[in-house]
Symmetry: C2
Subunit: 386 residues, 2 copies
């Protein structure tokens, strides 16, 4: 396999973009990524785009063909990849394969979702399609309800408290406040989270990531070509994906995602690294409990200790392992298909030393962790600067 590097990264602001359509968002992110790579579009050989539910959200499928057209790159091949909230991470993985295989050299990979044009109940129903439609959503289990079950069990088994979960939101808002692309750029207090409206007990509105419009993009190149384009190519040194049952009730555990653990083991093996080697990580905090499970499943903290570690500040910028410097899904926002690519963009910026105001000092190795649904898909990438 050829070694693969990121040579360009860009994104739209995440938020409510009522003045921009689905297409506009991708074009903006795509052009920023390509411009950042210092190349013109006609150098691009192929593309991949992650989006979860464009069919139901904007009535449009055939997203690869649409974008090849709107980004002005036809007749190059562009392919849409879908894996619910992991759609972006999976698109990145297909891009890596395309370059690694030698089938393509310069590949643009994007992620997008346009979610705010519909009412919140409709969107919630559509997002339910990321779980088991027949055995969960049909019976009323929306995503806050599913993650609330995990939270309850985590509280029972490990003594995790609502305050520990709330600490994730406080930390991610603090990071988001330093990110000009974030949907929420305001700090919040623990009290704000604890007093906020209950969505699915014990998860309150501030435990939940928001509904967001946005897009993000990166440009990939073979490592041996990368340095001819940019001074600081960011190599993708591991790329691993795993699956689990689609429904929560079939899982071995409610407090740990097997897909994350399996993908993490593969990724660490591939990169010949351990969790201790990671300097900064973007993890999938669709709900605060998801971040606690992630930092445990990724091996940053022992099982059940994620909450305590967060309260102790070990996941803050400047501490042991800074988590979600972008603000995470919680504060940066969660335009579903874009999230996995935004994570790659943030890792790229951190490893280039360009994460203004939230830079992790001497960051050398970064990790991104993107989850689909309640954990039936997890995809992990590890990045290294030179």
């Amino acid at each position: 396999m050829r070694r693969v590097a990121i040579i360009g990264a860009g994104m739209t602001a995440f938020g409510e973009h009522w003045e921009q359509g689905f297409r506009d968002l991708v074009v903006e992110a795509g052009i920023r990524a390509i411009t950042d790579a210092g190349i013109s579009g006609d150098r691009i050989d192929a593309g991949f785009i992650g989006t979860m539910a464009s069919g139901r959200l904007v009535g449009q499928e055939h997203i690869g063909g649409l974008l090849a057209d709107y980004i002005g790159l036809n007749p190059i091949p562009i392919t849409r990849v879908e894996g619910a909230c992991a759609s972006g991470g999976l698109a990145l993985r297909q891009g890596v394969m395309a370059v690694a295989s030698g089938m393509h050299d310069l590949v643009v990979v994007g992620g997008v979702e346009k979610m705010t044009d519909l009412g919140v109940n409709t969107v919630s129903d559509i997002l339910g399609g990321a779980g088991d439609q027949e055995w969960e959503l049909f019976l009323g289990a929306t995503f806050p309800a599913i993650y609330a079950l995990m939270a309850r069990r985590h509280m029972q088994d490990y003594g995790t408290t609502e305050e520990m979960m709330a600490a994730v939101a406080v930390k991610n808002h603090k990071n988001g406040a330093k990110n000009k692309y974030a949907q929420f750029q305001n700090e919040i207090t623990l009290e704000t989270v604890m007093k906020s409206k209950m969505v699915a007990d014990p998860l309150k509105i501030f435990d939940c990531s928001p509904i967001t419009d946005g897009a993000a993009g990166v440009v990939l190149a073979p490592m041996d070509m990368a340095q001819s384009f940019v001074k600081k190519p960011i190599e993708i040194i591991a790329c691993a994906q795993a699956s689990d049952t689609i429904a929560l009730h079939s899982r071995e555990s409610l407090t740990s995602l097997k897909a994350t653990r399996v993908a993490a083991k593969k990724a660490y093996d591939m990169a010949k690294l351990t969790p201790k080697d990671i300097d900064v990580a973007e993890v999938h905090d669709c709900f605060t409990i998801a971040e606690l499970m992630a930092i445990e499943d990724l091996g940053f903290f022992p099982k059940g200790q994620g909450g305590k570690a967060t309260v102790e500040g070990k996941t803050a910028i400047g501490a042991e392992i800074p988590i979600n410097t972008s603000g995470g899904l919680k504060a940066c926002g969660h335009p579903v298909g874009a999230t996995g690519i935004k994570q790659a963009v943030e890792c790229t910026w951190q490893l280039r030393g360009e994460a203004e105001g939230r830079q992790v000092k001497d960051a050398h190795i970064a990790l991104s962790h993107n989850v689909g649904g309640s954990g039936a898909t997890a995809v992990i990438h590890i990045y290294r600067n030179q």
Copy 2:
């Protein structure tokens, strides 16, 4: 790149499967493909699944995670790929990349669509998402209307007649009558087509492929491992994809698909072959006019001569270049995401000499051509037996 071969192929019957759900269809096809390869499921490293509109048709996204679970293969990675009616062909291409790159060895690739649970108008609206939702579908241009525009122009520019288009349907029904997996296993006469109900002038109901439930699957392996599993591995010697504008009105031509021509050139170059070397081909006949354009764009006949060649029987089994021996989309049926994989299955059977009742004698090289929407995506594979 490593060389890649098909070592297993299988499919469900195509038709109206009111007694089987989306999941059941994929499991059936997947198990048939894996069984055909003579391996057990635990040998499979990864999977790809093509489906266009599961979100709108059955309320379910996150298809990779769902299928890893239902086919009993979790925690392996399975990824959904979408490219409208080319979803299956694109999934196959991702499978080829996964094996070619060395990232995976044994990969299962499937395609599926469950379409008959909704009314025809709803399905027609959903399929319209394969075109330009904002500038075509929203204004009333469903797919029969879009292809009718191409047909009219082809008639004007090249003297193609309604009878010539009807001859495609007659030939494909004749082939489908010999395929036990086909939705329509009955021969029809030219008169049947000509007297059938007008859908979008000049396209009549018998010029249109039907709405279908079904799934198909293949198992891929590196060529150097393939012979340890099966006696007759079918090598994929070319794999090419291209794009064009999403909307018909932006095209350079209404009578030729640029995406097909670009992908065909790449595929022939990759395989070091010319159209004359192809012994049998499955082409994308979503409408009869689409088959005429395809056999011209693929270089089997000069531009404008597809209709005449069909009437003269040059595309029949036993003639110059047998086209759509499976019955094509027209008679075998068109479960959108499954079509591209069904084409690969038919090519495999033809090259193994297993296409009972419709076998092309001495078939050595086969080609499959899968189109998304009205041509914004085209993906072509060329296969060779040993």
